[in-house]
């Protein structure tokens, strides 16, 4: 066993923290909550130049060839900085599936653009049922000649407003088993028949209503095998859950640190509030949530990187952090008093994001069910 990070990983950590502290101040974070696009193209380009966007992709397509664990390190720092923008959408929901299941042509067409920061991607999976199960996939794709024609509405699609390619999960055959007959399509964001509407959320992220009205896509845009897409979706949700957990981890770490500092600085009754035992015990509890999350996150990410099956470990960390991050931010509010309840204070950014992140890619109940299955129940 060796729980240390490589020098390269330590460097990634540090350079990511420094870069984001500099380039992603909270003023920018707040601005992007109101912005139509929700990200800064120049900053996106800079991140691409640093190799961040191409981090996990093969070098032959312009990527860095790094592991998921490395990606998790980067995502933790992005979570710490509340970095806005379509990073998880592009890299995890869009890029990784193409890297894994795409044809050579698809990979050559799209991956280099992702790595250079020239293409934004996302996944259109959930529908008005708002669930992550196969029954809920109702959007239909029908064969017409050498094309498919897709119609229907997707909801809660992240960053579809700016996406160049959208991987659309659609039903291509009816079957008694809802997991059969689902196909993934790589759809050009400029295809006629697509409309997107931004949905306002408490987290200020860019979720969209995404409507396909007889959108025509060539057969060559099928990702993986037709009618067998659900297994792929399951895997994508796992990656996304882990990536989201990494962001949450970084946020929780930052909230703990800023709250410890606040407790040392804030004086009431002629002493720092951090000297009151109840505040100390709150912080002790928060630290247990944060520190136990960190090693569990890294274990799951390491397993994924090593190709060891880790459905349980991913659900353990997403299930755990979904509640732990919310607990930590709520407790931090209690310790901050009224100042943290204002829009001027950074804490509110994390509190809002914690809830949204909890609900993305499976909340605690969703992941507990997976853990139950993994335990043989």
């Amino acid at each position: 066993m060796d729980l240390s990070f490589s020098e390269e990983q330590e460097m990634l950590w540090k350079s990511a923290r420094d870069f984001l502290a500099n380039k992603c101040p909270k003023t920018l974070v707040r601005q992007m909550e109101e912005d139509e696009k929700g990200y800064v193209p120049e900053l996106w380009k800079e991140m691409a130049d640093l190799g961040w966007i191409g981090l996990p992709f093969p070098e032959k397509y312009g990527g860095g060839g790094f592991t998921f664990l490395d990606l998790v390190i980067l995502l933790e720092e992005m979570g710490r900085a509340c970095l806005p923008g379509p990073f998880i959408s592009t890299v995890v929901l869009g890029g990784l599936p193409i890297a894994k299941w795409g044809t050579e042509q698809q990979k050559k067409d799209i991956l280099p653009k992702i790595c250079k920061g020239e293409a934004i991607l996302t996944l259109a999976l959930t529908e008005p049922s708002a669930r992550y199960d196969a029954v809920s996939v109702q959007v239909k794709a029908k064969v017409e000649g050498d094309h498919y024609v897709i119609s229907g509405t997707k909801l809660f699609v992240n960053d579809a407003n700016v996406a160049d390619y959208i991987i659309v999960v659609a039903r291509t055959a009816d079957s008694a088993n809802p997991e059969e007959g689902i196909t993934l399509f790589i759809v050009d964001g400029k295809s006629p028949g697509i409309t997107t509407h931004l949905l306002r959320t408490i987290a200020g992220d860019k979720q969209c209503e995404f409507t396909l009205n007889k959108v025509k896509v060539p057969k060559a845009s099928v990702l993986g095998k037709p009618n067998q897409g659900w297994g792929m979706v399951g895997e994508i949700i796992q990656w996304a859950a882990l990536a989201k957990a990494a962001e949450m981890m970084g946020g929780a770490q930052q909230v703990l640190e800023m709250t410890i500092q606040y407790a040392k600085d804030r004086v009431q009754f002629d002493r720092p509030i951090g000297s009151f035992q109840i505040i100390q015990h709150y912080l002790a509890d928060m630290s247990i949530d944060v520190d136990s999350s960190r090693v569990s996150l890294h274990k799951a990410a390491w397993m994924l990187s090593e190709g060891i099956s880790c459905a349980k470990e991913i659900s353990v960390i997403k299930g755990w952090l979904s509640e732990a991050y919310r607990r930590v931010t709520a407790q931090a509010h209690q310790i901050h008093g009224a100042i943290g309840f204002t829009k001027d204070h950074d804490l509110e950014l994390y509190f809002r994001r914690a809830k949204a992140a909890e609900l993305f890619f499976g909340d605690a109940d969703f992941h507990r069910e997976i853990v139950a299955q993994q335990l043989g129940m």
């Binding site: 066993m1 720092p272 951090g274 100390q280 002790a284 247990i288």
Partner: protein
């Protein structure tokens, strides 16, 4: 980063597992690690056998120098051994081992040979005499008096809550040698519990097991060569002793893991209204939540072990695990009682009992887990303090 066990470590784990399989009676459901359940008449003899066997294999104090009966093995081996023993609920994990650490740190060469070797051979047991009626969390309030005379100290006073002292040969006794100085006036003695002037009274715990002992000292003469460390230097031993209890929370977690696994198996085999309990969404959800809490605790345990191997400070992490582990132990016990329903509270000897009555025991016994070895509140003070989050005192 690599979470895998090496081949050597994996091979050792298999060896330990096989040893436990061969040493436990068929169908063994496991007992809580530590001196409490070893007090039971049906467990005591098995526990004694286990100490001997572990001693013969030089598995007690695996990491110690060979001169003191150890194997100079890497720390990882000991961690695997303790995890397996706790997970399988095999008796024989000895609080004496924590005392070895103290003796090796503060003892003279003569003391090391005299006291450590019999412990590592599995021949003697030790009790811990810290607490007194008026010194619980506030260990520095110890009043038991030790007065120097000629070549011995005379001890007068009492200890309480000394777990398993009635089964022990020696007790590590924290005594006051300077009544004027609360913190710098303590000394630590290794006391033969057969010494004249010692009276023991067992106190039944809530579980019904009489594992607590009151130990009364009436002019007990302790030879000077049994003073551990310096006279009035007991504070150093005491602080070290808190650190030596590093693994306590992890025992609780691995113990809870066994209970959870029994519960999962039970739910996979038990039908209610024609449906397997494990198919009930509420039951699945609760069991999975327990599994998550336990897994997260085990992961933090990996971190703790890693810190120890690296020689980093472990105060924060070990106390975090102590708090988390104690809470988990109580929650898994409560969950078991709820799932068993009216069968839950049945005594283990009832003919209708389920899962050997382990959950009714556990429900009662784990109330002690957030107290023993320092309370949860005390642990949180440590986490928040200088060696942890660095919060100010005043």
């Amino acid at each position: 980063m690599d979470f895998r066990y090496t081949d050597d470590e994996e091979a050792f784990r298999k060896e330990v597992q096989q040893f436990i399989n061969e040493s436990m009676p068929p169908g063994w459901l496991g007992v809580d690690p530590g001196p409490e359940e070893e007090t039971r008449e049906d467990v005591g003899p098995l526990a004694r056998q286990m100490w001997r066997k572990l001693g013969q294999k030089s598995w007690i104090g695996l990491t110690l120098p060979k001169a003191y009966g150890g194997q100079e093995a890497p720390l990882w081996k000991e961690m695997i051994l303790l995890q397996e023993l706790a997970y399988r609920g095999a008796p024989g994990m000895d609080t004496a081992i924590a005392q070895v650490d103290l003796i090796l740190t503060f003892g003279t060469e003569e003391q090391k040979r005299r006291f450590v070797v019999p412990i590592t051979r599995g021949e003697v047991k030790w009790a811990i005499g810290m607490s007194e009626p008026n010194a619980g969390s506030d260990t520095f309030a110890v009043q038991l008096r030790a007065v120097e005379e000629e070549d011995y100290f005379v001890l007068n006073g009492q200890k309480i809550w000394s777990s398993g002292a009635h089964n022990a040969n020696y007790e590590m006794v924290y005594a006051r040698t300077d009544p004027e100085n609360k913190h710098m006036g303590l000394s630590v003695f290794m006391v033969d519990l057969k010494s004249p002037g010692i009276t023991l009274r067992q106190i039944p715990q809530m579980t019904g097991i009489p594992a607590f002992c009151e130990v009364f000292f009436d002019n007990v003469r302790v030879p000077k060569e049994n003073l551990l460390g310096e006279k009035n230097g007991g504070w150093q031993v005491l602080l070290h002793a808190f650190g030596a209890e590093r693994t306590y929370g992890l025992f609780a977690i691995y113990n809870a893991k066994r209970y959870l696994d029994h519960l999962i198996q039970y739910c996979n085999e038990t039908h209610v209204d024609g449906q397997l309990l494990s198919k009930d969404p509420l039951v699945r959800n609760r069991l999975a939540q327990m599994a998550i809490e336990i897994e997260v605790g085990c992961n933090l345990g990996h971190e703790l072990n890693w810190q120890a191997i690296q020689g980093q400070p472990t105060v924060k992490t070990s106390n975090q695990i102590k708090v988390h582990g104690a809470a988990i132990a109580q929650r898994v016990a409560n969950l078991g009682m709820q799932i068993l329903g009216l069968y839950g509270p049945l005594h283990e000897r009832s003919k209708w009992v389920r899962l050997g009555g382990r959950f009714s025991h556990e429900y009662l016994s784990t109330i002690g887990s957030s107290l023993a070895g320092g309370t949860t509140e005390n642990s949180k003070n440590h986490i928040a303090g200088r060696a942890g989050l660095g919060l100010p005192k005043k």
